[in-house]
Assembly symmetry: C2
Homo-oligomer: 235 residues x 2
DNA sequence: GATCCTCTTTGATCTAGATCAATGAGGATC
DNA sequence: GATCCTCATTGATCTAGATCAAAGAGGATC
């Protein structure tokens, strides 16, 4: 079989890292690698939960929407992240590729069974889920109580941290120059704002020399302390 | 020992239901029952995660706040719910009793170890965490994209469902008359609104005969269909 | 290098919900 | 049953951010 776990690029970071080589061979038999084009959906809100997967390459957004088209991004997924709803019957959100991506897909039934038989794997999955829960709760404070300026500042700081491991010019665990993996509309959908408000807040930060914007996608943090102050209390 | 798990009121609903009687005896040795007065905190945001617990009686709110006092309720806990952050070093939120309550407390280190040795318990914990994650994500859509009217309607429906198992006059899995376990300010903190806006929305629903308000704490749903429509799209 | 196209910025105006300010309505306590 | 409380409602006003409406600003494609 071609999709061999042994040579998988995320085998050390994904939940599979809990498995030894015999177990990897077993789970490999249950999986198939699938390519997804940017914009294509992997899972639909409201559908039965039939598959779960590991992100191997690319990026995904997790969204939930209202009938009239209002959309909220409720999560982002990067390589080694786990996607889908094990041990449950419905998917409560849509998962869409933000860039051309590759995932390692399992049927949910197979996966559920395999997890029950491998407590170490289940433990990894629990840890991931707990971490994700913490992250999601943090964004509830942002969505419920923060102003537009605070939201944008918090977002830029989180992105600089989250993208940090994949690059170079790092100061204190934060990346000082980074490329946003999405456009303004999607930033707006993450922050519960409109595209215009996001744009205005960014230019404001630029005017105050807190950040620089070499182009639409790239952001450079000039004054991380100031940005942190704005994120926490709008100062 | 007095706090015997065998006679615990939540033993069939809490994660402990995964354990047989020998295991219950073992976990009993690790636990102590603690009473908490309404308003008292059990866990503080930012503190090291030293304890975890099961709610036995009462209710708790889970909050996160900004320096200037703005507060967001990011979760609610009822009897049989699990509290705390296992397998992690910090608590990211404060847990406060909303009513006089009882919890069954474990040291986090003991609990972590016990869970690792009992995969069925870990599985229950994972299921709970996944369900909670779904719930929290649903509220991200509410906080990020719903109007005040939609938020209040969604809230009333969720409360009627969540309180349903503990009472009588049920229609289609929903409780038609129920007592809110908290005041208007806390409803506002759940919905990311102000107390005045919540109050206005409630009187509006009353005027339109969608709900009745016998008194400040009690709510009666008169037209569940209408309420559902309002919750989903503001109709 | 002109013509699209899509995405972003900027400006003007509007409005949902916040804020400010009384007023009402139980429920303890004396 | 008067005096405090605390909490909820109602009203008047204000404002952050939405909405509406142009104008830039790259990149593709020809």
């Amino acid at each position: 079989m071609m999709n061999n776990c042994e040579q998988c690029v995320v085998k050390n970071k994904a939940i599979c890292s809990a498995l030894d080589s015999d177990e990897l061979i077993a789970i490999n038999r249950l999986s198939r690698k699938v390519s997804i084009k940017a914009g294509q959906a992997l899972i639909w809100e409201g559908d039965d939960s039939l598959i779960v997967a590991n992100v191997v390459e690319g990026a995904f957004k997790l969204t939930s929407s209202l009938e009239d088209g209002r959309e909220q991004i409720i999560g982002l997924l990067y390589p080694s992240d786990f996607v889908g709803r094990p041990f449950g019957d419905k998917n409560e959100y849509t998962v869409t590729a933000l860039a051309d991506s590759k995932v390692c897909v399992f049927s949910r039934a197979d996966f559920d069974q395999f997890v029950r038989d491998h407590p170490d794997l289940e433990h990894k999955l629990l840890q991931r889920t707990l971490t994700e829960l913490d992250r999601v709760r943090r964004s509830m404070l942002l969505l419920g109580r923060k102003t537009a300026a605070e939201r944008v500042a918090s977002f830029l700081l989180e992105m600089s941290e989250r993208l940090a491991d994949s690059s170079c010019s790092v100061v204190g665990g934060q990346l000082q120059l980074f490329a946003l993996p999405f456009g303004r509309q999607q930033v707006a959908d993450i922050l519960g704002l409109t595209i215009e408000t996001v744009s205005r807040q960014m230019t404001q930060l630029k005017k105050n020399d807190v950040i620089a914007l070499p182009d639409h996608r790239n952001v450079q943090i000039l004054d991380a302390g100031r940005l942190q102050d704005i994120a926490d209390a709008g100062a």
